[in-house]
Each structure stands twice: as C-alpha cells, then as structure tokens.
C-alpha cells in the first residue's frame, strides 16, 4: 500500500471555485502574476510552446496541448537559467488554479505544502519524460507526434518543429508526407 502523496487534502474537497478560465495572450504570465506564485494550468483549447535559450538561440523543446497540465515553476524567474518562456501558438484557453490565492491557503492550510512538493517533483519528472522520448526511435516518434497533433503544421515553423523532434528538415518533410499522404 503506497502512502498517499497528498494526505492533507480532504476527500470531498472542491477546488472548482478557485479555478479561473483564462484566455491566453502574450502577456498572460504578467496578467496572472505567474512570476510571483505557483499555479497549475489545464489546457482547454489551443497549444502552448515551451522555448528555452541555448547557445544564443531560442529553442522549442515541447508543447502543451488540449488536456495537458503544466506548472508555473517551469518559468519562474528566480530559477530560470535557460530563460524558459511559453509562447501561445493559437488561441488558447486554459483553466488556472492559482495556488497563491489566499482563500486556498485559508481553506486547505495543510494541503498547500503537499501539493507544492508534489508539483516540484512532478515537474522534474515531466522533463525526464521529454528526455526519455528523445531516446525513442526518431522516425516512429516523429510520425506519431505529427499524427497526434494534426493542426500543428499551420502554426509552428518547420525549423522549430524539426529541432523539437530532434530530426533534420529533410526527415521532417518526409515524415509530413507520410502522415498527410500515407507515402
């Protein structure tokens, strides 16, 4: 029997009153004060790309799509050596659970440290998952990714996409043909 990772959350707790729907725009991090607190985002529609700076260039490393969850600690200024930032690729709507909301602290004082701990572990593990994905066969992975994200080609530049999938532009072109025309 595994120990409950968030034991201080009452079983019938209702969080919906703390969740706000947000239309994402370029300034949404500032609008939501994401830099000063910790929050959880659930994507309802649209896509968000995660970029980092590496060797002087902005590099797309992964995306968040419908039903994905992501966390503000990925971009917190205090610990962001890679200058990670989110870019909204298409009109995106998210549900935002702001853990800095004083009402949450008041209602679930014991739960907040649990969930913050869990978020920090889970965020770290998410990156392990992205690393593991790069160890998979590039052709099979890339084709599956393109099939799973059919609308991506209209708003992510091909060069960013090839870099994200860790393949050459020539391979990307060939995989797109395979996905679109079954060649």
């Amino acid at each position: 029997m595994t120990v409950n990772r968030c034991p201080h959350m009452p079983e019938n707790a209702v969080l919906s009153k703390f969740v706000q729907p947000v239309q994402l725009d370029a300034d949404f991090q500032k609008t939501l004060s994401v830099s000063s607190t910790s929050g959880i985002f659930f994507i309802h529609s649209g896509m968000v790309g995660v970029f980092h700076e590496f060797e002087g260039q902005k590099r797309l490393s992964h995306t968040y799509d419908k039903c994905d969850i992501f966390f503000s600690n990925e971009v917190l200024l205090e610990l962001n050596k890679q200058r990670t930032f989110w870019r909204v690729f298409s009109d995106a709507e998210v549900l935002f659970l702001n853990l800095g909301d004083p009402r949450i602290r008041q209602e679930f004082p014991m739960w907040l440290p649990d969930i913050q701990m869990f978020i920090s572990l889970y965020s770290t593990y998410q990156y392990q998952d992205y690393i593991n994905a790069m160890g998979l066969d590039r052709k099979a992975f890339s084709i599956q990714w393109l099939k799973d994200h059919p609308n991506t080609l209209s708003f992510i530049p091909r060069s960013d996409l090839a870099a994200m999938l860790n393949i050459s532009m020539t391979s990307l072109k060939s995989f797109i043909k395979t996905v679109l025309y079954g060649e």
């Binding site: 595994t2 120990v3 990772r5 034991p7 201080h8 980092h52 590496f54 060797e55 260039q57 590099r59 490393s61 600690n73 990925e74 917190l76 205090e78 610990l79 962001n80 050596k81 890679q82 990670t84 440290p113 649990d114 913050q116 701990m117 869990f118 920090s120 572990l121 889970y122 965020s123 770290t124 593990y125 990156y127 392990q128 992205y130 690393i131 593991n132 790069m134 160890g135 998979l136 066969d137 590039r138 099979a140 870099a163 994200m164 860790n166």
Partner: protein, 178 residues
C-alpha cells in the same frame, strides 16, 4: 542553515544502513515494487531508464554524495522503470520512498528545502534535454567521457546512443572520431 529546525538530524535517522555492496550489485531493478531513496557514501555506478519501446537508455552516473531513486516509483508509487547498478564496491544508505514522503509531510521546513532542490533539478533536466537535442554530438560525447569516467566500459553502445538521441551506428562513428 539550522540543522535541527530543518529536520536534517531526524531525517538522517530515518535511513537504514550502511550497506556494503560489491561491484556489479544492483541498488534496484526494473519492475521492483519496493522503492527506496538511496544515499551513496562511496562507490560509482550507472542508472538506466526502460523506455516505452523496451529499449534501455543510459540515464546518468551514480557517485558519492548523491541521492538516487526511481523517480516514477517515488512520485506515483508504481513499479520501477529504471535500474541502478554499482560498478565499484560501494557503501550506501536507504530510506523507503513511502517513509521519505511521510517524513516530508510531517516536516514542512524540510519539504521547502526539497522543493527548492527540485527547482534546481528542473534546470539540470532542461540543460540535459537541450544538450541532447542541440549540442554538437562529438563535443557532448567528449564532455560525457570526462564527466562519466568508465561509461564505455560499463554501459553498452546502444544505451549510450539513446542517451545522445542517436542511432547505434551514429554513436559508433562519434565514439571513433572522439
């Protein structure tokens, strides 16, 4: 930092050990359901991830002074998806993942320390992901050879190739050139 306030002394008392391992012994294996967080006092080894297509990928080196575990088990309590082997004689201590979680739930100051450590881990993982994708592979291999001495001796070329996100033949070429 106040060792008592943050619970470091109590934390250290939760560990079992020391355990003395011979070269080749495993800290944990794929599929194990009893998970531990290990502290390495002495010894070197490597850990590997089991990828979803059944391949094994080198994940990193185990060295003195670090804590290691199967993170998936730690976070979700599911069977281990990685394996860790000590390649030299080692002295280690361990705490069960459940006990570790329970300890942090009872010690908020320590939990905040771990929270900050994890934030640094995210930076390290980001850097690893970016190097894997964008760093010149030959330069990266030369860096890893220095960072992980003995990697060629203890890990297969296929496991190393997956670490770099390249095919086995490409890895072979990089290693020859390097």
């Amino acid at each position: 930092m106040d060792m008592v306030q943050f619970g470091f002394l109590e934390f250290s008392e939760c560990f079992e050990g020391p355990f003395n391992l011979a070269a080749g012994e495993r800290l944990w294996d794929f599929g194990e359901t009893e998970g531990y967080l290990w502290f390495i006092e002495e010894g070197f080894g490597f850990d590997r991830m089991l990828l979803e297509d059944g391949k094994r990928m080198l994940n990193g080196m185990i060295e003195p002074g670090i804590f290691v575990c199967d993170e998936k088990h730690l976070i979700f309590g599911v069977p281990a998806v990685s394996q860790a082997v000590m390649n030299t004689p080692a002295t280690v201590y361990r705490i069960s993942c459940d006990r570790w979680f329970a300890f942090l739930q009872e010690h908020a100051p320590m939990a905040s320390v771990i929270h900050n450590i994890n934030a640094h881990f995210i930076q390290m993982r980001k850097a690893r992901l970016l190097k894997m994708k964008h760093m010149d592979k030959r330069a990266y291999w030369n860096y890893i050879k220095q960072r992980f001495p003995g990697v060629e001796e203890y890990c297969t070329q296929t496991e190393i190739a997956h670490y770099f996100g390249v095919s086995k033949s490409t890895m072979h070429r990089i290693m020859k050139q390097g």
